[in-house]
């Protein structure tokens, strides 16, 4: 049983690490603000769920698990809000998405 829990948490942690890394590379290499935001949100949601889920399996039923659930809920509630607020602020300030810009200029990408 504990081996099963260990294997499961190892799988979750590794997948979480890979998601975080993919999101980070995406935030660096994507061409536009909005696409970068889209990549960074992968780390905040998928990465957080997998990593914290993996740690929760290791913790068992204890106070630490309740705190981890609180952290996870807080992250899931606030990081989409931050992304939304940031995107709407950027849109109101006039930053245009890259697809619209290319359409306006009618040049080959």
């Amino acid at each position: 049983m504990t081996t099963l829990l260990d294997v499961l948490s190892w799988v979750l942690l590794t997948l979480g690490g890979i998601s975080v890394l993919i999101g980070g590379i995406g935030a660096l290499r994507m061409p536009d603000l909005y696409t970068r935001m889209h990549a960074a949100s992968v780390t905040d949601s998928m990465g957080a769920i997998l990593v914290l889920g993996g740690i929760m399996l290791q913790a068992g039923w204890s106070l630490a698990t309740i705190k981890l659930i609180a952290i996870l809920l807080f992250l899931l509630l606030t990081s989409p809000t931050s992304s939304n607020a940031l995107a709407s602020a950027a849109l109101l300030a006039g930053t245009r998405p890259i697809a619209e810009r290319k359409q306006d200029r009618e040049e080959t990408p």
């Binding site: 509630l77 606030t78 809000t81 607020a85």
Partner: protein, 324 residues
């Protein structure tokens, strides 16, 4: 392995510091300072200093960034070109840095178990805390009871900083008329942050109270709790607007909180004298000395918490009211 992580974080800190110095856009500097503060806090955490890490994150990455941005909103965003003598200042800084580096040659090596602090100071505190004070968090025991005088000084320093800022900027009651009142409503037009923020503020306040009273058993205490409660009320001010935040927690109350903190601290000290001990001696405050220590630490942490809350909120309102 943990040391490698610490070194990696410090390298990132050096890169951030170089980037802060080389940029001329002040807004970028403020953002990078927030990141540098988070890096230092993570480093403190890796070195197993949890209370310091919590305080650094709450005050440095959170409140300082907000205050810098409030100040930056009143001025321009580009740095002025330097007109002073750069060679002289470079020489002074280089000489000071070299002297400091030379002084570190005399220090014991990092983590040396034979260093004087590990053989004399730390074991004394670790052995005597269970007998005298009997709380699990030795940091709070040292801060609250063994070195309570220093913490009294810290509370007065925070109080002085608060009244200094209020002298310079005014007390934040927006006496000038608000020209565009409908637009000063904060982030009211952003519906999602408003809903989520209003949902979260009670939980953040509850978490602040938890950190305040849990400081004897885990990382926490008055300074951190004051910063977290301030963060909750700043969130309310950001979402609902400055006027409503001042209506919720008026300026008189903030001044009262600022003054009540050192008052409580000094009163606990004098109560020690009145009950028959020395100044800031908590043992005579209750029926047995250990219970007296618990009561004393509880009361002074409350004093510290409300001072920090009052000061940080007064400074925030002083900045925010000037821009209207």
């Amino acid at each position: 392995m943990i040391v490698m992580f610490g070194i990696f974080l410090l390298t990132l800190l050096v890169i951030t510091a170089i980037a802060i110095v080389r940029t001329s856009n002040l807004f970028v500097g403020v953002m990078l300072m927030g990141i540098a503060s988070l890096l230092i806090a993570a480093n403190f955490f890796i070195l197993d200093a949890a209370d310091v890490a919590l305080t650094e994150a709450a005050v440095g990455a959170g409140i300082s960034t907000v205050l810098f941005l409030s100040a930056l909103a009143l001025t321009s965003a580009q740095e002025r070109s330097k007109s002073s003598n750069r060679l002289l200042s470079f020489t002074v800084v280089a000489v000071a840095a070299l002297v400091l580096i030379y002084a570190t040659f005399d220090k014991p090596r990092f983590g040396d178990p034979l260093a004087p602090v590990q053989t004399h100071v730390a074991p004394w505190y670790l052995e005597n805390t269970p007998t005298y004070i009997d709380i699990p968090n030795v940091v709070t025991a040292v801060l609250g009871s063994f070195r309570g005088y220093d913490t009294l000084g810290e509370v007065f320093v925070v109080f002085t900083a608060g009244i200094g800022v209020l002298f310079l900027l005014g007390s934040g009651t927006a006496s000038s008329s608000l020209p565009r009142e409908t637009n000063n409503e904060g982030l009211r037009h952003y519906l999602i942050p408003r809903v989520v923020g209003r949902f979260l503020i009670p939980f953040i306040l509850l978490f602040g109270l938890y950190v305040q009273f849990h400081g004897e058993y885990g990382p926490g205490g008055g300074f951190q709790a004051g910063a977290i409660v301030t963060a909750a009320i700043i969130l309310y001010a950001l979402i609902e607007g400055e006027r409503r935040a001042l209506a919720a927690l008026p300026q008189r109350w903030l001044l009262g909180l600022m003054a009540a903190g050192p008052l409580i601290y000094g009163a606990v000290g004098i109560a020690g004298i009145v009950m028959g001990g020395n100044f800031l001696d908590y043992s005579p405050l209750a029926s047995d000395p250990v219970g007296g220590q618990h009561l004393g630490i509880l009361l002074i942490e409350i004093g510290v918490g409300i001072t920090v809350t009052g000061v940080l909120l007064s400074i925030f309102h002083a900045f925010a009211a000037r821009g209207r």
